[in-house]
């Protein structure tokens, strides 16, 4: 019955009912997905992916185009800004750890950020030739809210960014620890920092389960890398763009 009701409201697009129903549907689906993940504790049972796997077929089936969906769920998207501000709290919590060797951490992570942005942007430009996609892919190692904010600022494609971030997160989180052991990197600080820098929150969660103290380093790396990226990318992308135009 809910589906029927949603169906009817979608025909008269852009009215209040469809705004409410699409937002409500998004909220409900996400809550259900988050509940499933909490219940089974599978990290790959990602609430965002699950929600989208249900939402996209629903939108296609009901012939709701993305523009009307985006308009209807505008307020959910608008909440991204205050949510990003809230990340200032974990940043504040990490300041104590960062302060001990902030110069080393900042130079190491800034170099990492420059390398990964340059590589991702150049590879994408060479293979796909689409600047907006290249911008999205070069933000793949940043935590999602900051990644989306930066993509929009640089006129990248903010629908590609969350998936790129997801792939970087899962590949590094699942295969990263064994790869690091393989190349003989065993210290907690090196493992934590590299997983946090490359695979952000997803890496950090998985690493914390295996080893809490390495996980703590990865939280430092993920928040610091994100802030550094915000400062570096607005200068670096226009510079890289010169080589491809």
């Amino acid at each position: 019955m809910l589906v029927e009701w949603l169906n009817i409201s979608s025909i008269t697009a852009a009215n209040i009912a469809s705004t409410l129903s699409l937002s409500l549907l998004t909220l409900l689906l996400y809550q259900a997905a988050a509940y499933l993940q909490q219940k089974w504790q599978f990290i790959w049972l990602n609430p965002m992916i699950l929600t989208i796997l249900v939402l996209i077929p629903f939108l296609l089936y009901n012939q709701i185009n993305y523009q009307s969906y985006r308009q209807a769920t505008q307020f959910i998207h608008a909440l991204l800004e205050p949510a990003t501000v809230a990340l200032g709290f974990p940043l504040y919590q990490q300041l104590k750890t960062i302060r001990r060797y902030w110069q080393q951490l900042i130079s190491l992570l800034a170099l990492g950020v420059i390398i990964v942005i340059t590589l991702s942007f150049s590879i994408t430009m060479l293979l796909i030739h689409q600047p907006d996609i290249a911008i999205s892919l070069s933000l793949k190692s940043v935590t999602t809210p900051i990644g989306i904010a930066l993509t929009e600022q640089l006129s990248g494609d903010s629908s590609i960014t969350p998936f790129a971030i997801m792939i970087a997160g899962f590949s590094g989180a699942l295969l990263g620890p064994s790869w690091l052991r393989f190349i003989n990197i065993r210290s907690k600080i090196a493992t934590g920092l590299s997983i946090g820098a490359a695979s952000h929150v997803i890496g950090s969660i998985i690493l914390t389960r295996q080893d809490p103290s390495a996980g703590a380093y990865s939280s430092v790396a993920l928040i610091l890398s994100a802030v550094l990226t915000a400062f570096i990318i607005p200068i670096l992308i226009p510079f890289l763009m010169m080589f491809f135009t």
């Binding site: 989208i52 505008q74 909440l79 809230a86 504040y92 190491l108 990964v116 892919l137 590094g172 790869w179």
Partner: protein, 123 residues
């Protein structure tokens, strides 16, 4: 409930400040300026970390929902995924491992030893 309101007002204030700064200096997105202000005010003790801790944790736990409207936009990228999906995934995984290797090796070489020493020293 009082703390929830306190957190909401604190975040709104920082975001407002961020928007103001972003209006004059376009370097960072408004929300990132806001984040830095929020962190700064907590560090300076102008905002109470204890009061915001709980509500803030709730926000971060549930922020994933805010990504959905943007991510659904992938619906318009059928062609891109069909032609370049594989290339995109491979290049993401490749650059992720480059970054892992770089940060891991440098940290192992320069930070792990000094860190180990400091642990020995403190014992």
């Amino acid at each position: 409930m009082k703390n929830v309101l306190y957190t909401a007002l604190a975040i709104a204030f920082c975001l407002g400040l961020g928007k103001l700064v972003n209006h004059f200096i376009a370097g960072l997105p408004a929300s990132l300026y806001g984040m830095i202000f929020y962190c700064l005010l907590l560090q300076l003790g102008w905002l109470s970390p204890n009061k915001v801790a709980h509500a803030n944790q709730w926000i971060i736990k549930h922020m994933g929902i805010c990504f959905i409207p943007a991510a659904v936009g992938v619906i318009n990228h059928y062609e891109l995924i069909k032609h370049h999906g594989f290339t995109i995934v491979i290049s993401i995984v490749f650059t992720t491992f480059i970054l892992l290797t770089f940060v891991g090796m440098v940290a192992e070489r320069y930070l792990a030893t000094s860190n180990d020493k400091s642990i020995e020293g403190s014992n």
